[in-house]
Amino acid sequence: MSELQEYLEDVMNAIIEGDADWAREACTEALEKGVDPLQILNNGLMAGADVVGQKFEIGEFFLPQLMLTGRALKAAMAVIEPRLQSIYAENEDLKGDTGVVVMATVKTDIHDIGKNIVASMLTASGFTVHDLGVDVPIKSIIAKAQEVDANIIGCSALLTTSMPFMRDLVNLLEAMGERARFKVMVGGASVTPEFAEKIGADGTAPNAVKAVQLAQQLIRNQRAEKEAGT
């Protein structure tokens, strides 16, 4: 194994173990040794997160491991983020199919486990996620999306009686003339593709893995729309 691979494997293992201190140290060391930050991101952090995601999907890992990995990723990203930003500033194409997501469980609903899993998986896939928590008024969600210039707003509701607030969010975006600026993903146990379509959202997904794929697709769509000038 080459020295480069050893550094990347160290980063990956720290993520799989969900050890934030180890992840921070491994990233710092890799950067100091001159490893390309994009390699650390793609072949260390994301590779590790991918392993954790797969183990979670097949029931070998459980929620605590996913949460610990989320923490480790956050710690690692704090180390490499400044270097990544400089690289992206020179060449935005290197960002890949990622972007900024504002997520929240909508007003009146306090269920967040599904939303947290999606947030962790999006982070693990290179998205910058602003998780506003639970019971969040739609105005606050939109205000945050405007503030951080988000690509996607992701909102979640488990309760059927909280789902109408997702429609309110889409309607308010329309009323504010901001609908075209953000893609809107909706999720939750009772949310169906028919519901998403009915309220005018851009999509929903049945699980966290598919939610990441949807977010990537929405980023591609958004980019294509911008290029086409629509």
Binding site: F62, L63, I110, T161, P164, S190
Partner: protein, 459 residues
């Protein structure tokens, strides 16, 4: 010492601060992981109904240790509700051993069941939480209230009233929950069982509806309502208000911790530990008269998955051996009306619950996510439970039967979109309130199959 419930609210307002993330990860997940390792807790997916008294006792001990070490969490104030030594034990001593539900000739007595208890489990029919359009609500409830085997009833959730969408925290929750209770009482009168006990006030997520129906015209003191705990070991002001409201009014409190198997407790053994701790804590935070056992699967939701069945069984056995109390167990199958799998799932769940020491509640068909439940599967749930008790099925026999049933339905967990079946009105004749012939025939065929599996007393 906790002298009255205001001591709990004091602690929720003044206990030590901790962020919710740290509560989840450091208090619940880490402590549970440590206890699973310390007590060497494992499960075997081929042994759903465990015949291992030592394991049940150890799960109980680990759950008690978790409750003692972490306490509960107030999500509203971000503070820990701590318990002093002896308080949880006092909560155990206070747990009712019998509870009369309903009134008059329709009253039934819930009791703390034993493992392999030959007394019949009580049958609590309905699909709490399942969203219903208003026009389907009354006939759905009547479809199970009319079943002679049913002892008490519950119901789904009204998602609209008079064509208006019900929204959480909106004043319409008051209307929807009162409307729900009007339909429930009407259903009982129309089937000639006006005194039957109910678990209701399902049409309001906030405390508004619960407060609005604490009145003899709606929810009587011989009925019950939910006092939920949030995942995991959490309360909030909404749910504390539900408990406070019943202090003077006196209706029964059903604690409802829906422990997520595969969630913060990790795999099945850790989730069982969290479930035990939740019941123990809820004695104090929810002032429980009885407990609703409703673990849910992290991905599949249903209570008929192997790991959830295992948790239901071991938790009931743990309490039956160490702290007898009234446990009513929910049956939430993956499948919906007019599918054979719904009946297989119901049978497996009913066998596990009855033999392990619980009473039966259900069915929340189609994951309780759709109005796809009927009185027929509630009847089947009761028939299977009664047969298990009558036959004196032992734990090992029950396990063998459940494994055979799993072979018949486990494929539904791999089906994208689940196995929702059809709506109530596509499975029942709404005029006669009888199952459509195809649904009736499916029920009779599956019943014969279950009888052949060894449940010979299934009538």
């Amino acid at each position: 010492m906790i002298l009255n419930y205001l001591d709990i609210t004091d602690r929720a307002n003044n206990g030590p601060y901790i962020s919710e993330e740290n509560w989840d990860l450091e208090k619940i997940a880490m402590t549970t992981m440590e206890l699973v390792s310390k007590y060497k807790l494992e499960w075997n997916p081929e042994e759903i109904v465990t015949d291992d008294p030592g394991l049940a006792d150890t799960i109980f001990e680990a759950g008690l240790e978790l409750a003692r070490r972490v306490g509960a969490y107030s999500r509203s104030t971000e503070r820990i509700i701590e318990f002093e030594p002896g308080e949880l034990e006092e909560g155990i001593r206070r747990m009712p051993q019998t509870l009369i539900m309903g009134e008059g000739k329709d009253a039934r007595t819930l009791y703390a069941r034993k493992i392999m208890d030959e007394r019949l489990p009580l049958v609590w029919a309905g699909n709490p939480g399942a969203p219903h359009p208003e026009e389907l609500f009354l006939p759905s409830v009547m479809s199970w209230a009319q079943e002679p085997i049913v002892d008490m009833i519950t119901c789904g959730t009204l998602v609209e009233v008079d064509g208006r969408e019900v929204r959480t925290e909106d004043p319409i929750e008051i209307v929807s929950t009162r409307r729900e209770l009007q339909y429930m009482r009407q259903a009982l009168k129309r089937v000639g069982r006006p005194g039957m006990g109910m678990l209701a006030a399902q049409s309001s997520v906030s405390e508004l509806g619960d407060l609005a129906v604490a009145h003899p015209d709606y929810l009587r003191t011989c009925d019950s309502h939910l006092v939920p705990m949030l995942n995991e070991l959490k309360m909030d002001h909404r749910n504390i208000a539900r408990a406070v409201n019943s202090l003077e009014y006196g209706m029964r409190n059903a604690s409802l911790p829906c422990v997520i198997v595969g969630g913060l407790g990790g795999d099945a053994p850790g989730s069982a530990v969290v479930n035990v701790a939740s019941f123990l804590v809820s004695n104090l935070t929810c002032i429980s008269d009885y407990h609703l056992c409703h673990p849910i699967h992290m991905r599949h939701v249903a209570t008929s998955t192997r790991s959830v069945l295992w948790v239901e069984s071991i938790v009931e056995q743990a309490f039956a051996r160490n702290a007898p109390c009234i446990i009513v167990s929910d049956i939430y199958p993956k499948s919906g009306a007019m599918t054979r799998e719904l009946l297989y799932e119901t049978a497996a769940n009913a066998i596990v619950i009855t033999v392990s020491g619980g009473h039966l509640e259900g069915c929340g068909s189609a994951d309780g996510n759709l109005p796809n439940g009927t009185g027929l599967e509630a009847r089947f749930m009761g028939e299977v439970g009664h047969a298990v008790a009558r036959q004196g099925l032992d734990l090992q026999e029950a396990n063998g039967m459940v494994l055979k049933l799993l072979e018949k339905y486990e494929h539904v967990f791999d089906q994208s979109g689940g196995n929702p079946g059809v709506r109530f009105d596509e499975a029942y004749d709404l005029v006669s309130l009888r199952p459509l012939p195809a649904w009736q025939q499916m029920y009779e065929e599956v019943k014969a199959e279950v009888r052949e599996l060894g449940l010979v007393t299934l009538e």
